[in-house]
Each structure stands twice: as C-alpha cells, then as structure tokens.
Symmetry: C2
Subunit: 257 residues, 2 copies
C-alpha cells in the first residue's frame, strides 16, 4: 500500500539549475528523488507544483509523492531532512487524498520578489537574496502597475515566447498583486492561478523601469494584453525571486493542513 | 603623502578561515590586502579591530589602512567593493586622524549571537546564519545570566586557555549584555572593552545549557571569576556569531562618522 504525501519545501536556488530534473545538472527535483530512493529503496517520482528557474528560491514550493505506507508524513519529513543537502529543506509534510496532484490540483501560486533599496542591500547577507536597487522609485507608479494586474488578463507581453502553445490565450487570473514596503526595501507579492515562464521577473523588470523613469509610467497597463513580448523590459534577476506558497483545495488534505 | 582611513566591513564568515592573514588559507585580512595591493600597486597592511574566528560573521568590523592621499574614503570604498569577493563588503569608509589605530584605539566591541527557536530556523535561508535551538529556554535564566555579566569581571572561565598571558587578569569591562527577543528567536547582544578568545561563544553555550535545564540556572554567575575554564560548556558554534560594531572616540574622526 502507498500513501500520498504533500511536501512543502524551502530551497536556496543559488546552486541549483532550477527545479526540474536534468541528466547533467544539479536540480531540486533530482536531489529529492535521490533522497527518496535512498530512504524507500525504490524510485519515487516527485511531482512539483511548478518549475522554478535556475537561481530562484522557494519558501513554500509544494511537491507530491507516493511512498510506502510505513512512512508517516512526520517520519518522512524527518528522514528527508536528515539526508537532503543543506540547501533544500522540508518544512512540512501532509497526508493527502490519492487524487491530489501537486501541479494540477493547485488553485494558486504565490511569489514574492524582494527589492532592497537602502545602502546595505549590497551586504553579503543580502546581495544573494534580494535585488539591490539604488535608483529612486516612484511608489505611486509601482502601486498603480501592481493594481492593474489583478483580474483575468493575457500576459503574453510578460512571458518567454514559446512558454505555452501559440493558440493558448496566455491568460492568468491574478488574485492579488501589491508592493509591500519593509525595512530596507519593498517586496512585490503576487498570487495567481498560474504563471507563465519568467512572468514575475518580466513584470518586476518592467515595473522597476517604469517607476524609475526608464520608461513611461503607464507601460505596464499598456502592455497587458499586447500580442507579443517585444516591448517588455529585461527580466529582473532570479536571485531575488521566491516561490512562497501553493494553495490547494482543503478537501484534498486528509487532516487539517 | 598618505591618508588614514577606517573601513567598516560586513563579511559572511562561512568560507573564511577567520580574519587573520594566513599563508595557506583564505582570510578576510588576506582578501583585503590583495584588493588594496591591486588598487594601490603597493602592499598596504590592514589592521583589524579584532580577530574573528573561522565561520564568524561581521556586520561592522573595523579596519585601519594608510593609503596614498589620492584615494578619498568614498573612492576607496567604491573601488574596493568593485574588486573584493562577494562575501566581503565595505559598508563605510571614514577619514581618520593619523593616531587612529584600529585595534588599540577601540573603546568597545559589540557582538550579537543569533538563536532561532521556531520550526523554520533550519530553513536554508537561516541555518547558516543563526543557531537552530529547539529545546525550551527559560527566559528568566537567560536574562539573569546576561545581567550578571555587566561590569568589570575576570572571564578566565569563559576563554580558551592561553588566550592571554597567565599573569593577565583576564578582566573585561562589559558595558551591556542582554537577550533580545525577535520574530523566530532571540539574540544575545554584548558590548565590552575587549573579548577573550571564544568568550562570546563560551558565554552563549553556557547560558543556553543553564536556561534549558542541562546545567544549574546559576552557573554563569558562579563561573564569573573562576580560576580556569574547566567547568564551561562547549562553545556555541561560530556560524551564528556576528561582530556588529567597534566604537572609537569621536575625536579620531576627521569628519563626523
């Protein structure tokens, strides 16, 4: 008999070639499957809620596994943390109904992009974890741009070409999007039913350009629904982006999450 | 003509064999001297306010250099940050009077030891920067132990043997010492005129043992003034310790710091 478990993961993306298993590169999925094989003595496929790019971090990625029933979620979590490398960590494990699928069951994902605006943002304790941005930002432009994203829009202008089939409408339903001030900087926090390839990084790059006078303040709104990505700014770098959570329907949990 | 400059430094101690230059190991002083030699085309000795051990971090170490007068502090800071490795960073540079000596002029040093007490303290974003401590801590024991350190005491019980000559009284004048609660944990913050070798780590190790029932609650007070270190707990690990600041007399600064 097997048991379906959701793993909630933190990882530091710096030394990973992203989430998805590759033959010749170190990936989060690859490390998890190697650890599970060591514990379960058989290959256990790991399904992620979404793929993160090289360098992108997670503080709440979700993954689904089926393991032999002798592994309770708590014991699996402890055993995995004992064998996983230091840059991946299972912060929670939940027993799930068998119909749970980490990718297809997800209702929404939440990302945060951390921007440091003070002098110390280049400190070794921060430079690999947030974007040091020293030009003046117009908060009203940032706030208006974020607010314009909420709702059901075509995000073709903010996605790598080929990220989805050409006839896919590239629509994403953004539940919330806002810039949150904090000590030393501000974070862009966005939750949507799905994200296209590089979408958050393209959005942040374009918003920062618009709010710092490098392009027109209204460009983000103008590009929403544009037919291609020819006018987007360069994507903001990956080291400041965090997949912070994946939301599933409550009925898929066997016990309260 | 030369100019005396105080450099204020942040460094991530993880990949350094400590502050002090060594022939065959990577050290902070060694990296700074290599960077300065590249900029000034001559050997520039770097004097640190104090030596930090392998693995110990700094968010305010101070160092003194004499550089050719053409280098203003601001230009020196920028040029150093452009050539230094990513784990060392000059956060400020001040023009000083020539009698400034980074070690002998210092009135006090301030250290912080970060302890994480929540579940997430093992996250890859925290485990290399604070001590994950999961046993229950008695805050009253911690507070009483910290308070007992303030004043002029012999710290021989909390120092590596041989750290100072046998006839040195091992006295340190502690200006302030306290445990400060914060989200996810608490930090021990201590300021003194000098610190003996491993002193903060021995103090933290002993206080944590006393506050978690591994030894008597009053042991820290009892050991103050003890003739040797035979009863001290194991030193707390270095990766959670930060040299946070060095205090100099105001008259040594050529302009307000």
């Amino acid at each position: 008999m097997s048991r379906t478990v959701q793993l909630v993961l933190h990882y530091d993306g710096a030394r990973f070639a992203g989430w998805q298993r590759q033959a010749a590169a170190r990936t989060v999925q690859g490390e998890l499957e190697a650890a599970l094989e060591r514990l379960c003595r058989t290959h256990v496929p790991v399904v992620g809620a979404g793929r993160t790019d090289a360098g992108v971090h997670a503080r709440g990625q979700a993954a689904g596994v089926r393991v032999p029933e002798r592994w309770t979620p708590t014991e699996l979590r402890r055993a995995l943390n004992a064998v996983l490398p230091r840059d991946v960590w299972v912060c929670a494990a939940h027993a799930m109904r068998d119909e749970f699928h980490a990718r297809f069951s997800a209702e929404a994902r939440r990302y945060a992009y951390r921007v440091g605006t003070d002098e110390d943002a280049m400190s070794p304790f921060r430079r690999d974890r947030e974007l040091a941005f020293r030009r003046t930002l117009d908060a009203a432009v940032l706030d208006a741009a974020a607010a314009s994203l909420v709702g059901d829009h075509c995000f073709r202008a903010f996605a790598v070409k080929g990220t989805a089939p050409e006839d896919d409408p590239h629509r994403c339903i953004v539940r919330s999007a806002e810039w949150r001030p904090r000590a030393g900087g501000l974070d862009f926090v966005v939750e949507a039913n799905r994200f296209l390839h590089h979408m958050v990084r393209f959005l942040v790059g374009t918003m920062l350009d618009a709010a710092s006078g490098r392009r027109a303040p209204g460009d983000v709104v103008r590009l929403l629904g544009a037919p291609d990505n020819s006018e987007v700014s360069a994507p903001a770098p990956p080291h400041a982006l965090y997949l912070d959570g994946v939301i599933y329907p409550a009925h898929l949990y066997l016990s309260p999450a």
